[in-house]
Symmetry: C2
């Protein structure tokens, strides 16, 4: 399973992804799901992926092929020369559609779903920063201040904490905390989501990646928030008022 999360803030963007991949419980591996492309001063593009690993890998290979082709022929359309983040997201969608043509029919013959989702986040030049959600059909949507987070993969366990407290107005430092708690909740309830955890915190208008970290299994920060959040939640639950039942019968 996979959990990737994009938090849209007025001050920038926070992105998180786990790295566990499994084909059955007896086949578990580590695969990076966050891919950062940077042209400092011009643009930062970050891709997060979930779904069938062969599909996401093929999309990433096709994207890389185009980037390499672009070095030889300047009119080649590729990930890093689109005029806007919207066009960049549409470009990633077009690569998903290429893989659809390559592989979907063969997968479906053996009852595998064409399961692939991407988040495309970042900023280009003086345009606003943004996060896009790319569907398996290649169509897209984006975050906004009313719906300031986007999730792909195992999204449900990590949603309640975001629904309760995350807003696009909060500082990037606080958004990182909410993202880490959402990730921790997902790892706690679904063992097929796990470390290393990649976290990127992008300050708007930086046009370069300044804050990025990979937290390995057993990392102190992960352990600390796991312990403090669990203890705090259990304590908080007990401070809730008692439910008064009506007196029965008689």
């Amino acid at each position: 399973m996979t959990y990737c999360l994009g938090l849209y803030c007025r001050e920038g963007i926070v992105l998180l992804s786990d790295s566990r991949s499994n084909a059955g419980m007896d086949n578990i591996a580590v695969h990076r799901k966050m891919h950062v492309f940077e042209a400092p001063g011009d643009r930062v593009i970050c891709l997060l992926s979930s779904g069938n690993l062969s599909l996401t890998h093929t999309v990433l290979e096709l994207i890389e092929e185009d980037i390499q082709a672009g070095k030889a022929a300047h009119d080649t359309r590729h990930l890093m020369n689109q005029p806007s983040l919207f066009e960049t997201a549409r470009y990633v969608g077009s690569k998903i559609r290429e893989v659809d043509k390559l592989d979907r029919a063969y997968l479906e013959k053996d009852d595998f779903r064409f399961n692939i989702h991407f988040l495309v986040a970042g900023q280009i030049g003086t345009l606003p920063h943004q996060i896009y959600y790319i569907y398996p059909q290649g169509n897209i949507m984006h975050a906004d201040t009313d719906s300031p987070f986007l999730q792909i993969g195992e999204s449900k366990y990590g949603k309640p904490i975001l629904d309760r407290g995350f807003t696009s107005e909060m500082s990037l430092r606080d958004a990182v905390k909410f993202g880490a708690l959402s990730m921790d909740s997902t790892m706690k309830s679904n063992l097929s989501v796990g470390p290393p955890i990649d976290i990127l915190c992008y300050e708007k208008d930086a046009l370069r990646v300044c804050h990025q970290i990979r937290l390995e299994e057993g990392n102190d920060y992960l352990k600390t928030i796991r312990q403090r959040w669990s203890a705090g939640l259990a304590e908080l639950a007990k401070t809730m008022p008692e439910l008064e039942f009506p007196v029965a019968g008689e």
Copy 2:
């Protein structure tokens, strides 16, 4: 959608169910999903149901038919004359298998899944109290002190809070709080789960229902825990330590 929850405690059992039913977002109704059968001094049996409403209704009608038949003929096997809760759960499973024979093929012709789950909870005489989970295939499993809660329906949003803090050792009063918070988290993140909320709190060896309540939409207790839990969580999240990113480049 539906959310039903059974909490197994050493002191007894806490059960919760929502009452919202929908066939598409434009067809929403209220249906009770908690059904209590009581023979004071002898046994308390509570059924919680999720899935296709026509299937769960048919199971409940068949169960009621058997109870009525039992009044005429004492050797009729029915819900309230089984020697143990295990046999009671197996009996409910046998009713699901009857409905399978009646309806499954017709549903599947139109691509409806045979979707039906039950929880069967309670106590009979001097036997231990217990909660059983009944699958659509009619087979069963039960809760225990290692896995002290069972959920049916929309289970993921309400699981994190239980994973963090609920144990079978806690008092029934605290278990009610955890159950209410789990229900509230589910309602917050999935609008197709909603009030009235039925809550039953069974003290072991009571062999009668003493604590049962229905909380309607807008109920003060529901509003209070929604507000205090949301505020408390947001506050708690901000007390988490800040993540220190490594200093970039140079």
